[in-house]
Every structure is written in structure tokens, then in C-alpha cells.
Amino acid sequence: MTARVAPRFDEVSVGEHLPALTLPPITRATLAIYCGASGDHNPVHVDIDFARAAGLDDVITHGMLVMAYTGRVLTEWAPPAAIRRFDTRFLAVTRVGDVITASARVVEKLDGADARCVRVELAAVDQRGEFKTRGSAVLALA
């Protein structure tokens, strides 16, 4: 799906869901690869000895990996240049074995003077329905 067509402002409705994304379970390999790819070498994500010394039961997932999953929901719906703002609050740690579903919904249409934008709310939840992140994004659409 390389020839993606951007959604048109007039055809987008408030309440509309963007296609959701369910990821494979987080593994230690997932975290190791993200550690190398992201440049975030904080050992709390890959070194169980360090995590335990810091008072955790196990390593924890990079919050930015979960945010990247929600970013994929945006970029599978619209081209990356459409994204004007992208905010995330990290609500709970994501653990090894968790299955993340990232979703988004259009909540507002902003017909401004210089751009026509939509605001979407984003969330990442795990297999138990626990919210890992909530956020929002603003995308400019033609």
C-alpha cells in the first residue's frame, strides 16, 4: 500500500474511527531491537538486573515504542506531512508479553483560515483493556 491517498477534509466525519492496529506480543527481542534502532539505551528496557535494582519486577517497554505504534495508526491513514501535532501521555508501563492495540478516532474538525485540520484522539490498550497511553493529534487535510 505505497500509493496511499490522503483522506479529504470534507469526507471525514467526527466520530469516525481510523483503522486500528494490533501488534504482536512485546518480547525481549522487540525491546532489544527498539533499543538499538531508537538510540535509547536506557538499561531499564533491556537489562533485568538493572530493572530489579531499580525496584521493578522486570524490564519495561520504551514508552516511545508504544507512541510509535499509535503513530503508525496516523501514518497508515494520512501522509506524514499532514501531521501538525502529536501528543501522548504515558499512563501505565507496558510489560513483556503485553499485546498492544493502537486506535484513533476523529473528535473535531477545525476549518481554520490557513488550514483545514482534524483532531483525533489516540489510545493504546493492552490485552486486559488497560490504557497504556492516551493522546491526540492534529492533521491538516486538503
Partner: protein
């Protein structure tokens, strides 16, 4: 309640602290590895031809990757150590990006970071620090800004 908790490690005097500005080139290999790391299989993020067919000059930078590029500094956690922030007690609280211009492989991006807020909640059991980053490209154009909020937790 500023300064009330003996556990407190973040002082309000940290507001205004700036990291040394840092520049990095966006490399295709890093973008391909990042796509793999986040499970992204659309070739527009990893294949030159697919990117050009989509109208891009080169591989586009994914929305959260600016945060990663800022961590390309020789030691991205050196300022934690310098400021006495215990890495094992740090969680990522919030992350907020504003995008002004798209970025692509080959761009050279400059990051200027400044601590803009420090505050505490729950009687000092949780401390917060907000770092604002301004990102400019090789043409001196401000392409993006982002705020990173970290939380230092003090277990009871």
C-alpha cells in the same frame, strides 16, 4: 511544597538548563532499522523507490523518530548524571511534538534542548521535568519542536 521533601532531586533552578546543541544526519540505515523495530512494513519508509513514487525526495522521517535522533548524542543520558537524576527511577510521563516542515533522509538536524519546567506532585513522591527541544534543518529552517516530560518516582 517546593523543597519540602528530603527525597527531592529536581530543583527549580534547573529551569533554563540547556544541553549543548547537537547536529545529526538522518541516515537511511537508521530509518530502515527503526521501521523494523516498530513493525512498519510499508516500503515507503524503507525503500527509496517507494518513497520517490509517493512524492518524497528520500525516505521520510516517522513522527516519533525525532525523539530518537536527539538521543544520537554520544551519551544521551549524560545530563541526567550531571543533574543528579537517578535513571532507574525515571519514567516517561508525556511527549508532545509540533511539526512545521517534513524531514527526510539526508537532512542534517540540529537539536537545542532547554529545561522549561520542574514541579512535584503527591507530596514530592513524583517529580516532573519538562525539556523543550527545538529542531532545525541544514537550511536553518525550524522543522519541529517537542516537549519531553520525565517523571522521577520515589517509591515509598
Amino acid at each position: 511544597m517546593a523543597g519540602e521533601s528530603p527525597r527531592r532531586v529536581l530543583r527549580t533552578e534547573l529551569v533554563g538548563y540547556r544541553n549543548r546543541p547537537f547536529s545529526v544526519e538522518v541516515e537511511k540505515g537508521r530509518l530502515r532499522l527503526f521501521a523494523k523495530a516498530i513493525g512498519e512494513t510499508d516500503p515507503v519508509w524503507s525503500d527509496d523507490e517507494a518513497a520517490r513514487a509517493a512524492g518524497y525526495p528520500s525516505l521520510p522521517v516517522p513522527p516519533t523518530f525525532l525523539f530518537c535522533l536527539e538521543m544520537e548524542r554520544p551519551d544521551p543520558y549524560d545530563w541526567f548524571e550531571e543533574l543528579g537524576i537517578p535513571l532507574g527511577q525515571v519514567l516517561h510521563g508525556e511527549q508532545a511534538f509540533s511539526y512545521h516542515e517534513p524531514c527526510f533522509a539526508g537532512d542534517v538536524l540540529r537539536f537545542e534542548a532547554e529545561i522549561i519546567d520542574v514541579f512535584a506532585k503527591k507530596g514530592g513522591a513524583l517529580e516532573f521535568l519538562v525539556q523543550h527541544n527545538v529542531v532545525s534543518n541544514q537550511h536553518g529552517v525550524r522543522v519541529a519542536e517537542f516537549d519531553r516530560t520525565i517523571v522521577v518516582r520515589h517509591p515509598a
